[in-house]
Symmetry: C2
Subunit: 389 residues, 2 copies
């Protein structure tokens, strides 16, 4: 069940040749305040250029298509998008500039706009409050749909916050390749909503990496329609904290799903870097390790070759002493004092076979830390490195 | 045939369980001036720590082992290395500090020193001027051995420059994971030799990337014994230029081989970035593209999805206009004016099936340029992205 006042739908609108769902729609009965975070990639999808222009309007709906990124499609791509939004506006009795858009799929591919237009009446007629089809319509290579919800109270009213997301490949820094649509019926000041959402993004989507590739389409949207009837949260305090904690839990759950569902992934790895001289150092070391093809193939193969983790850290040229650092995997000491200390290779190998791994690298160069959620590279680039021992 | 006065050998010395060659030795009849370039990885193999100390001595031999990186092996690793060099020195009648060392293999693994010591008499007895076994003894996951030679004249004497290398995975910036041993009989001033070698390294090994991972063992060594009998090249001019061109051609040939033999590689890609505002911009864009898992899997699969190249460039946050840039593959225009213009997908697909590809990305943001040599990611991380279209 969506938060009060929201409904959604997902159908096949003729974009994917497979006939799978490829168009999704979220509608709110009343106007929403909205905030969004977009990719930092210099290449941007038409929908991002459009959304940035209309973002401050009261928002009534969100249209999302899969199967075409509508990126590197030039003016034609923007015309295609506007044609869809104008028709949708007519069908929903709302101005097109009150509809936000998102897209995922192949770069350079136009949306087959005539076909999509024909399907819009069915799409708008399909929206329901109990919908479960929207998350299916926005996925690409994802194997599982991603959906999370949390409840809390504000002003004595029960509030709900729900997010649907997609993301499996092209997942990396600063808004992983993914789309997330977050809806809440909680009334909250727009600036506070953005602040809480930003904190949640920082702790979730900005902390995951699947393949180090950042998409030109990444988007996280948060819509609040106030249908819960609570007095608008207008300042920080207990109510704001509950809202913030709820959105954090929802975003973290979706981010976790994205990593677990990373293309080809067989392992989920939480990487904790500590003992860094500053935040940047922690971040650089974490990203270098998490995106190292050799580290990722080791985790896939489960071969005991954790020296690659230290070598990846060393590539950052950050100032730490390889003779002082300590490395642990699932709490087991692997390296310290400048040597690999795992005497019991069989025990370490067993640990590496687990589906969820926790890697702790203490650089012993300061007090800053960070974490990243990532996964392995399976098969065969892959095979060679995984079998290499 | 090696340059005059050099001989070498490669044997199995008990390190690799497979029984394959794993220990190599180069010997010069007379003392060499030597220069070397090492990895910039903060983690360094014991042999690099050692070589840096003895590099200025006249050099008589180089010992290299495969199967153990002798890295993260602590003081024990250094003791192992010294034990080998002392024994080798006794067998060769040279001081151990006149022998350089190199190693490749698994991080954290000790050299099985007792076994190796037993094999050293055989190794020293095996060196010949016509040797072809050394290049085989220094490889790991390499499928082919890497060997290149060039001839030139200096002071009326025929000079030869020869290099043997290894490198297949863990190949990336600033001295790719690789070992290169270059020998010349040309007498040349040490500073001039280093300058020419550095220029050659910059144009070859520093321009290749297989997987974006930099090893803690990367080493390029150049030895000159002057056995050609030429008057030492002591200043820049025609003779220096011939030396420089010869070492460049030899290094470039080895680098080319390394990329072609990259782990799992099926394609060789020369990536030319032009129109950058400055060198750093060109370099960053090139490396981001060359190391993008999505770009590399596209080249493997040959699916027509070159928008990924532009998206990878955009991830650098460098200032260029995606509506102005042009992208060509094998001379065929793929993107310009903010759109993907390849109308003839079949023709592009055919181009992408070729084993050697040239990619030209003109950022239209300035006049600086650079190139990188790289390859594809084969199989299956890989498979998912290659089939995704």
């Amino acid at each position: 069940m969506l938060p009060r006042g929201f409904s959604s739908a997902g159908i096949h609108a003729g974009i994917k040749k497979s006939g799978k769902p490829d168009a999704g729609l979220i509608v709110s009965d009343t106007s929403c305040t909205a905030t969004a975070f977009f990719t930092k990639n210099r290449l941007k999808s038409a929908h991002i250029v459009y959304d940035k222009k209309v973002m401050d309007n009261p928002v009534r709906a969100v249209f999302c298509n899969a199967g075409s990124a509508n990126c590197m499609t030039g003016e034609q791509g923007m015309e295609d998008l506007l044609a869809i939004l104008v028709d949708l506006g007519n069908l929903l009795y709302v101005k097109p500039e009150r509809i936000l858009a998102a897209a995922t799929g192949k770069i350079g591919k136009r949306i087959p706009v005539d076909t999509v237009l024909k399907h819009l009446p069915k799409l708008t007629a399909s929206v329901t409050h109990t919908d479960k089809t929207f998350p299916k319509a926005i996925i690409t290579t994802d194997l599982v749909q991603k959906f999370a919800t949390a409840a809390f109270t504000a002003g004595g009213k029960k509030c709900t916050i729900t997010a649907a997301g997609k993301g499996s490949g092209m997942i990396s820094p600063n808004m992983a390749t993914m789309l997330v649509f977050c809806m809440t019926d909680c009334a909250i000041d727009k600036k506070l909503m953005r602040e809480a959402a930003y904190e949640a993004v920082r702790m979730s989507f900005n902390r995951i990496t699947v393949d180090g590739d950042m998409s030109p389409n990444d988007t996280v949207m948060v819509l609040s329609n106030g249908a819960a009837g609570n007095k608008k949260i207008a300042k920080k305090g207990a109510e704001y904290n509950r809202f913030r904690d709820a959105i954090k839990s929802v975003f973290y759950a979706i981010a976790d799903d994205m990593v677990m569902d990373g293309e080809g992934a067989t392992k989920f790895i939480k990487l904790n870097i500590s003992g860094a001289a500053d935040k940047k150092m922690a971040e650089r070391v974490a990203r270098q390790i998490a995106n190292s093809a050799l580290v990722k193939t080791m985790f896939f193969g489960g071969s005991v070759n954790p020296g690659r983790i230290i070598s990846a850290a060393g590539q950052t040229f950050e100032k730490f002493d390889t003779e002082k650092l300590t490395l642990k995997i699932n709490g087991r000491l692997i390296a310290s004092g400048g040597v690999m200390v795992h005497k019991n290779t069989a025990a370490v190998a067993k640990e590496l076979k687990k589906r969820r791994l926790e890697v702790d690298l203490d650089l012993k160069a300061g007090r800053e830390s960070c974490y990243l959620l990532t996964n392995d590279f399976s098969y065969d680039y892959v095979k060679i490195n995984a079998d290499y021992s």
